[in-house]
Symmetry: C2
Subunit: 337 residues, 2 copies
């Protein structure tokens, strides 16, 4: 098969062992397209915050192929997400990784796909495949976002730098599935109210910060734009006051993520403004949704998984009331591009 | 004064000398808010592509203050842009830099401002302050975007890694002012046609890739959203096909940057799609606008400056025909936030 599916701690150990006499691992690249790129965002912020010496970047697959970092090679780990294993740009990036001698870890949902032959390690992540995204009985700790984080956590922990919050991190991972399940139940009624109120809108903004900005990005591009054909943008709550906030009025709707952890005050500041000048605000508050039981030293990195799995409850209601099923496409997989 | 204004090559040399016995420089952080953050984007991509060993990140000021990278300290350079030197979040970040012993370089337009006391080095950049952004007689090589790039270029060149395209880079910098002046003249008539066509629109998207994505971001948040109150988002041309392109129709307008250099094929692919399914497309093509005289090894990094200085011609016409002056604000500097 040319690949093995095993757990991420062992994968990282095996890579470090194999690279020991070749200069070790000096860089970690997170590469993907659209939602698969967005899902890697928390791992990017983890490296920026926690690692002093390992270079890291978060890059769209096609950009990575055409504008490859000079140092990318046998001292690099390439982590890619590719849902069905058939995204051409991501396959190209994986091939490039092979050619350059990088250790290529592919996070995918399908065991049998085109991309797997170009990965040194294939990690099959968990995913809620139910059409309405409402089943909610999956292991959320096994999703791609957390798999990418595990690579970062393990790399740091198993190298010279170390990661002092290692145990707390896995404690958090052990709690996330229950938190998400409860949160999804918790928002069920308000999701219906949201959908009814937003039924005739043509634009919806998402907002967020820190490690969970990726969830705001994914909701904006994959759901509102792709699956509902709504105008949208994901606004960073720290950037809001330096341009975007001038569009705020009584009509424009915002979905704002209030993270738990270090960037919460950025989100709260944006919310206070919205509550003064906007009328249509949907608040996803990680504290209210139960995330605070995770230790403060690591909670930042779990916001994304929480928000990303609460959104489907809203999406289901919105698609239903708008009579625009989430699976509807006019271009994707239908025309040449 | 507590700061000196000198040239960037000397600044970097002085920092490296001062840090020689303290472990040297290991990280370079680009920090700012809104347009001042967007302007630092090319320097971020430069570090990602060209540097193997110096850690770099591009972070909103308020996020940087609340979620500071663990390694940030005396082995770091902090480069910040702050136009009038009075952005509270950026001042906080500068203070933090001082406290932590980082070398703080502040790029600003005003010599006398609140922030300068927190900078070890103050770089006064050039800026076209004419209300209508049409004077165009400034030294574009002295703008903040290029000043940030000079820091990155010098840091690489003066440390172990070296930068083999150093001479080509400065050759390009020597050409950019004339290129931009010609390009601004070149788009004058089409900017009027664009403005007339877009007069009654409520949404305009910008698109771009690579080092010039920052210019698309700035145009979207600082002009269309902030100064024209239009719905907008900056779409990465490599991400376009993984979600956003589903909003494409005959009505929605796009301004697309076709970069010269390594990511050009991403932009061209998006353009081909737009030309098939959209009707309102404004193309800013760096090749047509004269950027190709800059050497291919460094041309990527000059796209942003070109696009960012061609946009004002369009902005002026759009603001005029919409009778919505660019200086109009409803919240910024007017209400508490």
């Amino acid at each position: 098969m040319g690949y093995k599916s095993t757990d991420i701690k062992s994968i990282v150990a095996e890579i470090l062992e194999a690279k020991r006499d070749k200069g070790g691992i000096k860089s970690l690249y997170f590469v993907g397209c659209g939602g698969s790129l967005g899902a890697l965002y928390p791992a990017k912020t983890f490296m920026e915050k926690e690692s002093a010496s390992i270079k890291s970047a978060w890059i769209n697959s096609n950009e990575f192929v055409h504008c490859t970092p000079n140092d990318f090679g046998e001292n690099s780990i390439l982590v890619m997400a590719c849902h069905k294993g058939n995204t051409p740009e991501t396959i190209q990036a994986a091939k490039l990784g092979k050619e350059k001698g990088a250790a290529v870890i592919i996070l995918t949902w399908l065991e049998e796909s085109e991309i797997v032959e170009f990965g040194d390690y294939i990690v099959l992540y968990s995913f809620d495949a139910s059409q309405d995204h409402l089943a909610g009985d999956i292991d959320y700790a096994g999703e791609k976002t957390l798999c990418a984080l595990y690579v970062a956590v393990e790399l740091l922990a198993q190298t010279q730098e170390g990661y002092k919050n290692y145990d707390k991190f896995y404690e958090g991972a052990g709690m996330i599935t229950n938190i998400i399940r409860n949160a999804r139940t918790h928002v069920k009624e308000r999701a219906k109210i949201f959908a009814k109120a937003r039924k005739n809108d043509s634009v919806i903004y998402t907002m967020g910060s820190g490690a969970s900005y990726g969830a705001a990005y994914m909701e904006s591009i994959c759901i509102f734009m792709e699956m509902q054909w709504l105008d949208s943008s994901s606004i960073h709550t720290g950037e809001f006051f330096h341009g975007p906030f001038e569009i705020t009025d009584a009509n424009r709707p915002f979905v704002i993520q209030i993270s738990e952890g270090s960037t919460r005050s950025l989100d709260e500041r944006a919310l206070i403004f919205l509550q003064k000048y906007a009328k249509n605000i949907e608040i996803l508050d990680a504290k209210e949704l139960g995330l605070s039981v995770i230790d403060v030293s690591v909670v930042d990195y779990f916001n994304h998984s929480l928000f990303n799995n609460v959104y489907p409850i809203y999406n289901h209601e919105l698609a239903t009331i708008r009579q625009h099923p989430l699976a509807t496409r006019r271009y994707m997989w239908k025309v040449e591009y």
